[in-house]
């Protein structure tokens, strides 16, 4: 069995590290280079702004797109550049800041033959001030079960019922509003409430133990 090393053309990457975009250069990035080198810094800046705002969760409208295109830069070419840069940035942001360092990113960009004048702007998206907001959006949009948006509750004490003159037994009513819009109202018998409280406390403790353990063990 022989191991074949695949390196980019004209590359001088340290051969024991995979570039951030993976083993092979993705096709949308390789066709990005030629049209990109014909652009000017201002246009590339505008395209990057658009990409960043879409990564922060704001939808991109076709009008914003049209505004950037001009006679020198047709919509088709713009599409190629936009998707190429989007894919490049998405792959870079995927890796945590501890794994992908600015120097490594610069090396990889050189290997991809990204023109040097744009490298600083592109790197500032990945490592700059807008990164935390992009991270937040990524966490918010992850696939998950509904979130408990709101819990309303009340405690009643039944004094008398049709079957028993003196009851004096507490009951708890809960109304849970979930992020998928459903509202659930139900009664919680006191015994079940104790179970619920115990289980929630137990899970909380387990989670804290887990956080103490795994953060130290798993190294990137």
């Amino acid at each position: 069995m022989s191991i074949i090393q695949v390196t980019g053309s004209g590359g001088s990457v340290h051969s024991d590290r995979t570039p951030f975009f993976g083993g092979r250069v993705p096709p949308e990035i390789s066709i990005l280079i030629k049209p990109l080198s014909k652009c000017d810094k201002q246009t590339v800046g505008k395209i990057l702004q658009l990409i960043v705002s879409s990564m922060e969760g704001k939808p991109v409208s076709p009008e914003q797109f049209k505004k950037i295109s001009s006679e020198t830069l047709t919509e088709d070419t713009l599409t190629v550049i936009y998707s190429g840069l989007f894919s490049l940035l998405r792959r870079a942001i995927r890796l945590p800041l501890t794994s992908l360092k600015p120097e490594m990113f610069k090396e990889d960009m050189n290997e991809l033959q990204i023109p040097a004048e744009f490298q600083e702007d592109i790197a500032s998206v990945v490592f700059g001030a807008r990164r935390p907001r992009i991270e937040n959006e990524i966490l918010d949009s992850r696939p998950r079960l509904p979130k408990l948006d709101q819990l309303k509750w009340r405690v009643d004490v039944a004094i008398s019922t049709s079957v028993l003159n003196r009851v004096l037994e507490p009951t708890i009513l809960m109304e849970m509003k979930l992020s998928n819009g459903k509202i659930h109202s139900f009664e919680v018998p006191v015994s079940q409430f104790h179970q619920l409280r115990y289980n929630v406390a137990y899970v909380l403790k387990e989670m804290e133990d887990l956080e103490k353990k795994s953060i130290l063990k798993i190294q990137d």
């Binding site: 998405r90 039944a158 409430f193 409280r197 909380l204």
Partner: protein
């Protein structure tokens, strides 16, 4: 207002029938009625059981119904007022039940009263009740747009029993550490309220 049995026509008729009953079979009748007293819509005896009772107690269909209903009524009233056995005995004598039968009823009540009252306390009108709680603790390692994560999250499944529709609803939701902590705090506040009630 305490336990007060009034000898209406129906009760007078039932008393005559009960006094004529064979005392050996009487305790079993009472234990069964007491065990089913706290249930809402269930018949104390099934159709076949009622037929068997008719023959073993030598009562007609209508008479058996009257006897069972009267006994149920008396015991319901005793439970409603959480009557002491002594008071129950006195009231039973007042409606002219035989000594033997009074003793059997009072004994049965002595044994079952605490249990019946506790079960009646739990009775509620709200259809939906929390029955069971299940949970799962996960550590999210990655997602499509982010790799190398270590995000703990907890999933909960609350099983809700709906009396009206016999359907079992399941409420499922997921929480991160912060969300779990605020949920815990809310439950603690509820607990403080319960503690204040004494």
């Amino acid at each position: 207002m305490t336990l007060n049995l009034v000898a209406t026509t129906a009760i007078k008729k039932a008393v005559v029938l009960i006094n004529d009953l064979d005392t050996s079979k009487f305790p079993l009748l009472l234990t069964r009625i007491l065990s089913k007293l706290h249930l809402k819509d269930e018949r104390t005896f099934s159709e076949e059981e009622e037929e068997k009772l008719q023959s073993s107690l030598s009562l007609t269909d209508g008479d058996l119904e009257l006897v069972i209903h009267t006994l149920e009524f008396i015991l319901h009233q005793a439970a409603y007022h959480t009557a002491k056995p002594g008071l129950l005995g006195q009231q039973l004598q007042q409606i002219e039940l035989e000594e033997e039968k009074v003793k059997v009823i009072v004994d049965a009540w002595k044994n079952a009263a605490a249990d019946v009252v506790t079960k009646l306390r739990q009775r509620t009108i709200t259809p939906k009740r929390l029955e069971e709680i299940n949970w799962r603790l996960n550590l999210q390692m990655a997602q499509s747009n982010k790799s190398k994560m270590k995000l703990p999250n907890a999933m909960f499944e609350l099983k809700i029993n709906d009396e009206d529709s016999e359907a079992k609803e399941k409420i499922r939701f997921e929480m991160t550490h912060d969300e779990l902590y605020s949920f815990y705090n809310q439950l603690e506040t509820i607990q403080k309220q319960l503690d204040n009630l004494g």
